[in-house]
Symmetry: D4
Subunit: 206 residues, 8 copies
């Protein structure tokens, strides 16, 4: 009767990064700026590490919403980049949906700013079209926790799975033996507490 | 198996503002007074902006509950105004239900004070009659977060969709090109952080 | 597909007060002692006000769990009082279930200490037997919010409705005209902020 | 329509303790170290008290993740101990699944570090295979409450029951008369507030 | 070099209750209404218990600030009652200062609404005139903790002593043997957790 | 031995508004944007209401720090406006200090963004020159509460008085009879909870 | 001008443990029970480790306040034990003061329940008599943080030094070489996070 | 009577970084790992930027406390590096004090882990010897906020100035014109919100 386990599969997943723009980021108040920046870049590193098809999109980036944060632009120079000129829901933009379809993937990993609009709207649209959607809650930000909770409830009730970047990375990786160094390095780069463990360990090993 | 995406449509939506009265507002403790006033007026501005049929109702306004806040009265001079003399659940009031039916809309956007009674009861009644109900959680206030969480859970489990005023506005607007100036002005008026972005942007543009 | 609106009906509801004992109350840390005492007594006043059949039960009251708080004992001198000598889940106690059945009611309003055991277990058992169960979250206390959230989630997923004492009272009352003075007095006695409204109002009226 | 009451049964339950390792514990920030240590050891004491088959597993314990905490090792000297050399999801490890099956139990009580990965992944896998899974939320830790909430939501939506160690113990015990001294001692050892009640009581009794 | 111990002395202390009015109380957001009502009445009970000269004062009580809360009026029917018609700082009101001087006491115990104005201003004035001032922080309320912290810092730096009602009562009482029953009853009436201890104790004693 | 009461005097006070710029405001995270905007404008209204000499200053406003917020610019068209081209501490800017001296006032009321730099530095400098400095803590914002607490401690220990805008207004006004309507209107405009009291009161009066 | 560094000296320090009684502990709400128990026992272990003269005192232990917690009784079988029959301030009890003087120490390390009374009163009295007093804030508990903050402010302004048990232990020990094993064991026993470090370290060392 | 303004001067300041070791960092719970890492590295960048003499010290780095975090080691290859073999208070170590004296500076900027020991002890010792000490509260971490508050109070009362890394950088820099690019880059590297402002600004400038 309950939802069956939809498990992330690196061969069937794409990543959608929606409206992580310099201006809009100043609206995000449910995370500290340090945490949020780290979380978004961690998710981006995961997309790169697993070579997942990644789609970038922005809303009115020549206006007050500001440009896409430069780190993301630099990391995905060849990714489809959909600068929306009016559609609030990215799924209303034909180019965006085409880009999603072109990936051939059924699992969509999504994060963006703000959670209740830029993430929730395309999530609900994609679910309605039969995609499996995995919302990365800690790489998505909004005005305050009351707003976040409502948005996450709405998406969850519609069938989305709520995750965090660390769990996304681990569910995609499945087995450390696939690449211990690479994956460990990724984690250490975004989890200072894990980097400390590695540092203490290697120091002792000497 | 999950709830399908019920998407707000400006041609099929009405707004219900329940018991935002001067006395009752002193009971609201899950938001600061500044935030809550701003959220309620933002939702009212959205109703005006999209010309949504709007219904006002109050409970015992000649007693301690106090008068409807004057800003709402002033904004909707021609809206149906149901001063309930006893019904706690607005849906138990025939005039109120008639006014809702008279709008001919199937989507109800609701907010009020207090969340667990004045919002929850008509929400549950309207859902039972087949309406799609969108609860604006940040324009609805109550005694404390424990009470709020129980009320939102009850409504969500019964099929209501939990939203915030910003998401309601964006889902109704759909495309900035429908009215950039107007919608941007509405947001700037209620989101100081967005107003700052616009101010910095236009200052740079000079 | 969603749960239909199960609405409290004063002619079909009974109240179960589980293990509000002097010793156990020292375990409650998700409310301040002032708040919690007020919430429990408010619920008891509601049971009295609507003449709802009420059942009291305690666990090992001659041991460290301590006696039932004296206010409850005094308010319901004729209520069934089941002192359980071992059953942790009150529903495992035949006398308790008999007392519930003897009320002839289908709606059970429940509160107790601690939420995750004394409330959750009989709630789940009663739901399994087809009762409609309304959990009064703010008159039920436990160790901390993490524990509370898990318990409320478990009950909600099993079909219980989460409410607070104020909403319970209002849903039972339905119409202020049934008894303005009486119900207003009940609220003022447990909501200092509402008492202040009444005091200011009557002062102005003079 | 709702989930039926799945009640823990000491004759049909097994306990899975996943990755409570000295290094990984430094990642847990949604509990204080004192609280978390107490919660984990309380769950372990419950497993011992009811003689539940218990399975220990670790991930890369010779590396930075560190050794299993020594108290757990000491408490379950004869339990299956699966040191995973790569599988992130313990359910991907054949030995682990074999050990689970060998218990012949249908109810799995699970806790671990971190909640969103080491607990969530095997929970979802076990649910998919038809097990009843009971997640002990306060003996499972992770990076922060946002991450925890997403993970618990994901597991709950998939059919897991969210519990805490105290409720697990009480649901297994069912009746104090099965062993008053033993169970009371277990509680007093992990609930200082309950120990105080017992101490005051026995002092008065003298 | 540090401030010497100024110890409350029931023979040299007076109590000033400033502006606990029904309207103004709706501004208090740094305590829940339940807690704050309890704290104010506890302080009033202490004033009565020790027969301390007590002075009541209000600001504009015929306007929106509302009447003095009726419980205080009823408890001190013969106390000086200064209804200020304009002075914000009660110390600017000659009648108030005369009433203070008429007590002949050097120690002033003060509480009021709001902390930063109605408490802070007369506190600073009285300190400047050489009185010892004891601010009861938990019977004084204001808009939010940021405001409270600034006000308490200002008073503390000027030489006021910050206390809470419980400590005030205990410092005045000094020795339980002066009146065990009376003082214990006072505490039990305002500390539900203490009442529980007494109830468990006397239950065991039987 | 303690600091004597330095009381704000409308004939001897000037207001310094430091760096309330559109860009810098996005750094303020110890208040919500709604609250902070309201607090700053309330302080500005107080400066206008009492005709206090007011000095505006900005840092690098043609760069990322952004322009002064337009409301402040509009409210004080004739105030000295010092656009600093490099000095971080406004007191290092000769024009600023000259403007302060030109007011002939000894009491300086200061607020700004960010508290730990733009407020703290000129506050410490002004104190060193013998001014009485009143820091408006709720109209000054910074990165987080840890930073705020350190900055407020530093200023307080150096002799600054910590206040909030409401207390500043009340201490300047001293007696409601100086202007009931005007001052009441100012408060109602910035304290929604007070506006509700006034609205209920005047509604009853009819 | 500032307070000189008063440094704890194991040859000149005594420990006062005031009213850590089973009943009173249920009043402590500014720490979780797990944390508080751990903190108090850690301080007791420090007193033992450094062989500091230690004085135990209780208030009315044959009544609802309950007996001294048994762990403390067991740890200090030969310590002066002053069961006060009425004095609220332990310093008002001659036997207590005699016991303090008999230690011949000038530095008093104090902790107790509740902070605002049982700790604050003797602290202020001892300071007035010229003792150096070190208040262990995390081994002292009370009703809530507002009460704690007022009490700590009062003691700090009177010249007490605020510390925590870990800092007390470290300031007394001064040099790890005095006893690495012993002091490390003490820390590991009360700091699970430190025990994990030691466990990981020794595991690697093998 | 108050403390005079001690202003940081880049020609008279040295930086002390105490015990930022990989193991000890796992004890820091009053900041998230992301925030804390950023704060410490920001302070280190400030030390480099202004060429301040910097002293590194560690405690038992070959044991469980772990090695100095590698970033700090790499940034200050030529700095005095005092590996203490036993002294808990770095000021008890002759080499450390010699290194401090060798800088010839009178102003000491200090940060470390944990605040209550590794920062507080040398701070108090240095103050006693007449140094001006500036404690960087957000680059110093400890077990929890109760411990932090006690430690900061103790240092503040002894004459230390509490600051944050951002204020330290700004007070040292004094005038942006000394190096706009360099200082702006430093801020942008550690303040994502400021980096966003710069990115939006330069994007608009194009």
């Amino acid at each position: 009767m309950a939802t069956p386990y939809k498990r992330l599969d690196k061969n069937d997943a794409a990543v959608l990064l929606v409206d992580h723009q310099a201006g809009l980021l100043s609206l995000v108040r449910d995370f500290t700026p340090d945490e949020f920046k780290n979380n978004v870049l961690a998710l981006a590193d995961i997309a790169k590490f697993f070579n997942l098809p990644t789609i970038l999109t922005t809303s009115f980036e020549s206006g007050p919403n500001g440009p896409l944060v430069p780190e993301l632009k630099a990391m995905f120079p060849d990714a489809p980049y959909i600068a929306r000129h009016g559609n609030i829901n990215a799924w209303d933009n034909e180019d965006f949906v085409k880009a999603v379809r072109a990936t051939g993937k059924k699992q969509l990993i999504i994060a963006g700013v703000v959670t209740d609009v830029c993430v929730a709207f395309p999530t609900l649209s994609a679910l309605a079209e039969g995609y499996d959607v995995f919302v990365v809650t800690d790489a998505s930000g909004t005005f305050n926790p009351v707003v976040r909770d409502a948005a996450l409830n709405r998406m969850s009730q519609a069938g989305a799975q709520l995750m965090n970047w660390f769990a996304v990375g681990c569910e995609l990786h499945r087995d450390w033996r696939n690449d211990i160094e690479g994956f460990g390095g990724l984690l250490a780069g975004h989890l200072p507490a894990y980097a400390n463990l590695m540092q203490s360990f290697s120091s002792n090993a000497k």
